[in-house]
């Protein structure tokens, strides 16, 4: 996850023109007229308002090197769903950027719904943002012994899957017979209506 502070300069949506240098940002409406004439090699970015249902976009998303999603207020969580859908349903692989009222304490949900870049609003500390990402590291120590993670930060782990790793915790726990004590066996063996789940075990 990359954080950009406002001091770094936020590229704004400008009048699109190829060859102007940098990346031109388009709204879906602008792209509808520009798409056919836009050179394939020329980088283009898409800007989506947070009330756009991304499932209905009739646009070839692979044309864009970046998509900007917007947080008009940081507590307006619509862009998290947009990001998640762009990644896991629509297969978008380019850069996803969070723009608008973006605070350091959004770092975790942003990262976990598939954003790679956060353009922080003014007054936000990069150090705080980096720290915010790391609170849930090392919760499954057995994971961190795996060679893949050696030398890196311990892997953060959560209960539910997310864009970074669709598997929930329960698919990560080593399988094997569930721990059951004697009482529970008695319990299941009484076979009251609706104990199908237990009996099936």
């Amino acid at each position: 996850m990359r954080f950009i502070t406002s001091e770094d300069g936020i590229p704004a949506a400008t009048e699109p023109a190829p060859g102007a240098g940098g990346r031109c940002l388009f709204t879906p409406e602008q792209w509808q007229t520009a798409a056919t004439a836009w050179p394939l090699h020329e980088p283009a970015g898409l800007v989506l308002a947070n009330d756009v249902d991304v499932r209905t976009l009739a646009i070839d998303l692979s044309r864009f090197v970046s998509i900007d999603l917007q947080f008009p207020k940081w507590t307006d969580g619509r862009a998290y769903s947009q990001a998640r859908l762009l990644r896991t349903r629509l297969g978008y692989r380019g850069e996803l950027r969070a723009t608008g009222d973006v605070l350091v304490d959004m770092a975790l949900p942003l990262a976990r719904t598939g954003f790679d870049t956060a353009l922080l609003r003014s007054g936000q500390s990069l150090q705080d943002a980096q720290r915010a990402l790391r609170f849930f590291e090392g919760l499954l120590p057995e994971f961190d012994d795996a060679p893949a993670w050696r030398g890196l930060h311990p892997q953060p782990v959560y209960y539910q899957g997310d864009v970074l790793d669709p598997h929930p915790l329960f698919l990560k726990i080593p399988s094997g017979p569930p721990r059951r004590n004697e009482h529970h066996k008695q319990d299941a063996s009484r076979g009251r209506a609706g104990m199908t789940l237990d009996v099936a075990a």
């Binding site: 009330d51 249902d53 499932r55 209905t56 009739a58 998303l61 940081w74 507590t75 307006d76 969580g77 619509r78 998290y80 769903s81 998640r84 990644r87 896991t88 349903r89 629509l90 297969g91 605070l103 304490d105 975790l108 949900p109 990262a111 719904t113 705080d128 915010a132 609170f135 849930f136 090392g138 919760l139 782990v157 959560y158 209960y159 539910q160 899957g161 997310d162 669709p166 598997h167 929930p168 329960f170 698919l171 399988s175 569930p178 721990r179 059951r180 004590n181 009482h183 529970h184 008695q186 319990d187 009251r192 209506a193 609706g194 104990m195 199908t196 789940l197 237990d198 099936a200 075990a201």
Partner: protein, 618 residues
């Protein structure tokens, strides 16, 4: 009850550390009030009238004696020696200083407790049947599903900033004791003809200014698909729920505005997750996972599941003592296992606000749980404590101890077993006080003969339209309203939460303009008197109210008006509370339009040319 895994423990400690970092940045001035507020809310910290209010999560109401003792210690060390149990089975403190809040989170984490998602616009702590796992009418134990949902919803990255709060209840029994119809999502477990377990899914129930009963959008959802289906509901809500007006932001408004289109959108999203998403089937609940979680809910070690009821018969021998007989009748409940009982410790008695519990009372209840219930307690929707594993043979001994501890009032389900929010004495949202009203009614109705004669009745009191005291679902409901700075009370009759006594869930009917505080006990008495005079044999208050309608109650209540009897009396009706505090601070001006901002779009295949269904309906 659920036993924390090492991961669960590490997780809530990590959450407590994250909160401490946020608090420290706030106290140091680098995290301003607006940015800190949603963060503290999602850890249970409101700013209230006197101090921050902390709501501690008690998942599906299950509490170990050691946890209750820790809550007592926190009450004494950080609060003023008491707490308040809520209708959603949580505990609230009202006097803890914000600067102590991170320390309190650490203290809670030490006993496997937290305040995660007990407030804020996220999936709240999940509630369930107080008799889960022990009810004789149970189809399936709902607790493993509650726990699987709890884990799934905890710090869900996509659904932490929904349009509004989101509450889920799960019932596994034939009788609905969770008020499923009143929830954002109410899940009712069912068993189909082949013995397979699934859920009836109700969405869009809620109280507040617009009371609504949830619509059934799925008659039978196989249990394996529960998380995926809830994800689909939340995604539709997160994308299309209104954010322009706090009073229209709950999912009930979306369900009401869109009707069948809402259901279609959820079903389509559900199918898309499973069929089109990368790893979309990863959250199908496996049998292995269900059994892993279910094994955590085994009956406590040492409980005699095979004790016969013959022992029970002997134990009830002293039933000729009237007080004991009454206690057996009202406070002792049948159990799934013949030789066991569930016992309610009544927290409702004169001189104590409904749901309030002092530190010594917490410790006394914890001791009773250790002695008689294998160290386990439950918090009930009606704001009492329940001992779930009591041997029938020990009932008389327990009764003597319960009496000693002051929990023996045999009023469970009766008039004085009322539900009430903390009201204007504590809550900065409230328009009026609840506690003095509850106290006045309790003091008026201390005669047990009279209470038993009136029989089963739900009297619910809310200090404002946010409805924390569930007044809409009370057989008698009392709602505090504000007019020109004075406290008034609107009264409804005939509401129901969906449990067997009251029949199908239903909001009550208003019986005329609001009453002055001092009139309320007279009005309640007048309503009761009308019922006692005109009921048919065996007819409960709520059945009577449904039969005769609001008019006779209105007449009876008008007859006892004093302050509000003058011709120029203020015509007070329920108004929206002023936006002064956390819950309302995001509220915009009431919008005039009744339509959602954005119409539910019909997704088309990605590659196919189609017009985008953007913002519509202004």
């Amino acid at each position: 009850m659920y036993q924390y895994t090492d991961f669960d423990r590490r997780f809530i400690r990590a959450r407590a550390a994250q909160y401490r970092d946020q608090l420290e940045r706030h106290l140091a001035g680098s995290l301003d009030d607006d940015a800190f507020k949603p963060l503290r809310l999602q850890n249970g910290w409101y700013i209230q009238r006197h101090a921050p209010m902390l709501r501690v999560a008690i998942p599906y109401g299950a509490l170990a004696s050691r946890q209750l003792r820790a809550l007592a210690d926190i009450a004494e060390e950080y609060d003023r020696g008491y707490g308040h149990f809520t209708t959603r089975q949580n505990l609230q403190y009202n006097w803890i200083a914000l600067s102590d809040s991170a320390d309190v989170m650490d203290r809670l984490a030490a006993v496997d407790m937290h305040g995660i998602q007990t407030s804020g616009n996220c999936v709240r702590n999940i509630s369930s049947d107080v008799f889960a796992g022990i009810a004789p009418d149970e189809i399936v134990d709902p607790r493993p599903f509650c726990e699987i949902l709890r884990q799934w919803s905890t710090l869900h990255p996509e659904f932490a900033y929904l349009p509004r709060k989101f509450k889920i209840a799960v019932s596994g029994a034939r009788e609905d004791r969770v008020a499923a119809g009143w929830y954002d999502i109410g899940l009712q477990a069912l068993s189909d003809d082949d013995g397979q377990i699934g859920f009836r899914v109700q969405v869009g129930g809620g109280m507040g200014r617009t009371p609504m009963i949830g619509a059934v959008i799925r008659d039978f959802l196989p249990w394996q698909q529960l998380l995926v289906y809830v994800e689909a509901i939340l995604r539709v809500y997160n994308s299309y729920g209104r954010r322009d007006n706090i009073w229209k932001a709950r999912i009930k408004m979306l369900v009401k505005a869109e009707g069948a289109r809402f259901t279609e959108a959820v079903e389509r999203e559900f199918a898309d997750i499973l069929q089109r998403d990368l790893g979309g089937d990863a959250h199908l609940i496996t049998l292995h996972e269900f059994n892993r979680v279910a094994s955590q809910f085994a009956p406590p070690r040492g409980v005699r599941l095979d004790a016969s009821d013959a022992t029970a018969a002997r134990s009830t021998a002293p039933a000729h003592e009237l007080a004991h007989a009454r206690w057996l009748q009202r406070n002792v409940h049948p159990h799934r296992f013949a030789g066991l009982r569930a016992v309610t410790l009544s927290l409702k008695r004169a001189g104590q606000a409904p749901g309030d519990v002092t530190a010594p009372q917490m410790r006394a209840a914890a001791d009773l749980a250790d002695r008689y219930s294998h160290g386990e307690l439950r918090v009930s929707h009606e704001q009492n404590l329940v001992l779930p594993w009591v041997s029938a043979a020990a009932l008389h001994a327990l009764w003597l101890d319960v009496r000693e501890a002051g929990f023996a009032t045999p009023n469970i389900g009766l008039l004085t077993d009322m539900i009430a929010c903390p009201g204007g004495d504590f809550c900065s949202l409230a328009n009026a006080r609840s506690i003095p009203i509850a106290a006045a009614i309790t003091e008026r109705h201390t005669d047990l003969d009279e209470l038993f004669d009136i029989g089963d009745i739900d009297l619910n009191i809310s200090g404002c339209i946010n409805s924390c005291g569930h007044h809409h679902s009370g057989h008698i409901g009392i709602l505090g309203v504000d007019k020109d700075g004075a406290e008034w009370y609107q009264i409804t009759v005939g509401g129901a939460d969906g449990s067997a006594v009251g029949g199908a869930a239903l909001p009550g009917k208003i019986i005329g303009p609001s009453f002055a505080a001092e009139e309320v006990p007279d009005v309640v008495e007048a309503l009761i008197t009308l019922y006692l005079q005109q009921r048919q044999p065996g007819e409960l208050f709520v059945a009577f109210a449904r039969r005769v309608g609001a008019q006779p109650f209105k007449t009876a209540a008008d007859a006892v008006r004093r302050a509000t009897a003058a011709p120029e009396r203020p015509q007070v009706t329920a108004t929206q509370p002023t936006a002064t505090a956390d819950e309302n601070a995001a509220g915009a001006q009431p919008a005039l339009r009744e339509h959602p901002q954005v119409r539910l779009a019909d997704p088309s295949p990605v590659a196919v040319k189609a017009s985008r269904d953007g913002p519509a309906l202004s």
